[in-house]
């Protein structure tokens, strides 16, 4: 083994030895292994080490970066390869449907008491509770507010309707995503169920989206792209699909921007920790979730990822701001189909044509 270590570059050697030591320590204490599936930045090495020191367990972290890969890994072998994973509320539904997750005993996770009121009220968050059983514990979230150029927009926008205002014609940046686009239009029209459009609401939503398009500077897909378009195109207003992350990026390039939550509520995704049906050591998985609600992981999310945590109020939000947690939409194919036409520049008659 000494020989093998000598082959490793010096700067990695310390890390390798640490890992070996941890592996050996873990085996010696025989506290078991926790298999975590999470997004990058959710289980940084230093946090993992802290957890391992406290519990004597060994943690194996696997990172994924798309919902589809996560689904592949968990639906394979009945989720037997992982104990605990982080998933958003909309995605969580298919895991519940296929029985790949087991209910979480909130009493076994005392740190839930540290969470903000809006996250303690699990029933108020669509998709977490089914048949009085809790399937996931909120961990981090990102809201989709409105970013505005303080030079051009003197008063912070208070409503989504600002995106349609003629004075911002050609200066509004939008996100190229069919599901969110229709939800946005629905909310702007005062619809309380933006994820479930009423059959009669479709033509109006299309009209709204075409009107919005006529106001648009352009549509972005990636955060970096949005920053470039915002700055180069001298945009006044932007629907921030990536929320505070875009605010950070824009400020990093020197843009004088503000970030506002519309009164209709901001769309938001919420990632939660869930326990798989294949979990070997449920107590250890609960201990992990409990640990994730402590100050260190929460601070790491905020400082390193620019993501909000559930135990302290986000600097971008005030308590009265409303968040509209994402839910699966009624017909994603229909939304996508219409959206393609809208985005291509078709007029309403053509968009709504069969």
């Amino acid at each position: 083994m000494a020989l093998c270590i000598s082959l490793v570059p010096r700067r990695l050697r310390g890390l390798l030895l640490t890992v070996l030591w941890l592996v050996m320590a873990g085996l010696a204490q025989a506290q078991g292994t926790l298999r975590v599936l999470a997004w990058p930045g959710y289980a940084d090495a230093d946090l993992v080490r802290l957890f391992e020191q406290r519990t004597g367990a060994t943690v194996e972290v696997t990172s994924i970066d798309t919902d589809d890969v996560m689904w592949q890994k968990l639906s394979h072998d009945q989720a037997a390869d992982f104990d605990v994973f982080a998933v958003n509320t909309a995605e969580l539904q298919r895991y519940i449907r296929d029985g790949l997750v087991v209910p979480v005993d909130t009493k076994a996770i005392p740190n839930t008491a540290r969470q903000l009121a809006r996250f303690r009220n699990l029933k108020g968050i669509p998709g977490l509770v089914r048949d009085n059983q809790v399937f996931a514990i909120p961990y981090t979230y990102s809201e989709m507010g409105l970013i505005y150029d303080r030079q051009q927009v003197k008063e912070p926008p208070t409503s989504l309707r600002a995106l349609w205002e003629p004075r911002y014609k050609g200066k509004v940046l939008l996100y190229n995503g069919s599901a969110h686009a229709f939800s946005l239009a629905a909310m702007a029209m005062g619809d309380r169920t933006p994820f479930h459009l009423d059959e009669r609401a479709w033509p109006a939503a299309v009209e709204q989206l075409i009107a919005l398009r006529r106001n648009a500077l352009g549509y972005y897909s990636q955060p970096e792209e949005s920053v470039e378009m915002f700055v180069n195109g001298h945009a006044a207003l932007m629907f921030a699909n990536y929320g505070s992350q875009q605010v950070q990026l824009l400020r990093a390039v020197g843009a004088n921007v503000g970030y506002a939550m519309p009164k209709e509520g901001a769309l938001a995704w919420l990632d939660c920790w869930a326990i798989t049906r294949g979990a070997r050591n449920v107590a250890l998985a609960q201990a992990w979730i409990n640990f994730m609600l402590e100050p260190e992981p929460g601070e790491a999310l905020l400082k390193r990822q620019g993501l909000a945590n559930t135990t302290t109020e986000s600097p971008n939000l005030s308590p009265q701001d409303r968040l509209k947690w994402l839910e699966p939409v009624e017909d994603s194919e229909r939304r996508a189909h219409l959206w393609e036409r809208i985005l291509a520049g078709d007029r309403a008659r053509k968009v709504l044509a069969p």
Binding site: R213, R214, G345
Partner: protein
Amino acid sequence: MKFFGIAFKLGLLLAGVGMLASGLTGFYAYQASRAMLVESAKAELLTTTQVLGRRITQSREEISRNLQVLAGHPAALAVLRGNSPAQEDQLATLFERILLANPAYFQIRLISASDNGLERVRVDRAGERLVRVQGDDLQEKAHFSYLSGTLKLAPGTTYLSRIVINHERGAHAGQDQPSVILGTPVVDDMGHALGAMVINVDLNGAFAMLTSDLPRDYQLFLANRSGDYLIHPDPTKTFGFDKGRRVLMQEEFPKTQALVDRQVERLLLEVHDGRYIDAPVVAAFIGRKSRVAGDEDRLLLGLTQPLGAVLVQANRLGSVVLQMVVGACLICLALAVLVARAVTRPINSLSRAVHGFAYGHEAAALPVERQDEIGVLARSVSHMQDEIRNQLATLERNREDLEHLARHDALTGLPNRRAFQERLELTLARAQRSGERFALLFIDLDQFKSINDRWGHEGGDAALKIVAQRLSAAIRKADAVARMGGDEFVVLLENPTRREDIVVIAEKLLDSVHSPILHAGQEMQVGFSIGISQYPEDGDTAATLLSRADHAMYAIKAAGRNGFRFSASKGTPTNPTPL
């Protein structure tokens, strides 16, 4: 020759040195030429990449010219100013012509700045056909930066869009295809942009034409300024950003990070890792800044060529070098054997000569004719052999003389007693084996003392010599005569068949001495007394036979001299023959 002899060692050394020299020469020749080949391939690849870069610019400039021609057409302005279907048709026909002439164009459009960027004239390529899009199918494009970007430009300049997958629904052949859009503003007399002339170009089609004459094993890479692949030999790696998972050039070729970071504008690589671990490539990458306004301000272009293809020549060279090395080694080996033999053959012949000489065989030929050190050595050995041979001959002669002296009487030259004893023993042994007979005749000169007294010793010696000669002459060749000492002689008669034969011989002997001997001018008269013994009648040992013959001789002397008598052992003694 010993197996590990000097020849073997010398041969081994010479062959080893030769092979090492040719092997090292071959190896370094191969290394040097391989490096040169790779370097020249890299330089060629870089040149090709730069040529390709220029072609891209030329191709873009050609599109720009087409755009200017279209934007400057009076019909364009007329269409943008008002409803003029005839002018629209005219433009559409023009668009169709250009689309037919340029297979890499997906679409040509005239888009108005007003009406939310409504398309006014539009012709799309749809497979083999061209489709004119009209009426409700015309779309609003104000939210696309290729329109807003173009409208901001000065007349006569070109806008270049980002190279993306075109998701504009209804774009016919161009839909969901990698495209780049170029546009130029259409301006009125006041300089206001009333609309834009826009061409959608098929990225893959355009590049297929640009690279059609490249060698088949060249692979083309195109990336945007961030390194996102736009063209890659593996199409699944292109436009990763469009699928939500970026695939970057600097991940596959880490050194291109410097290109992405604009630290360098060109890069030459030999890539041996990643997916090239089994099939290494040489690669040239260049960064090209766009000369026109737009969103795609810089492109990264790369070409790779399999190192294997480059090294085919090197390998061919390598195999030639290898053949030469093997040939040279064989020649070295043969030369080593020849040299070793040339050196050791004279040494061996010297050694054989000395060896043969030592064992008395006929001396082998020596390489004395040689003019080198071995010739000198051979001549020395030859001289030494002659010396030894001469000395041996002298020794042999002396030995033979001594031998003769030891066995012959010095005065008469007849065998002496010792020699006669040996002859007698031999004859006796033979006779005992074969049953043959023989006789001894013991002869004593009568009154020899008186000859000595009268003629002196010289006279005696002369008499003895003459007697010896006459005895020798009288006997048969097979018989032997010897001087036993003083005046005593003995004759051995081999195999006398009858007693009468002996008598004849004895009488003949007596006759032979009968004639007078001349000495100092005077005649000497000598006589014999002969005693005869016979084998096997008179004994079976030499001593007995001699003794009997002696007795018989004394008996005849006592009886009156000058006669012969047989030993009396058997029958009556023979009467002496009176003279």
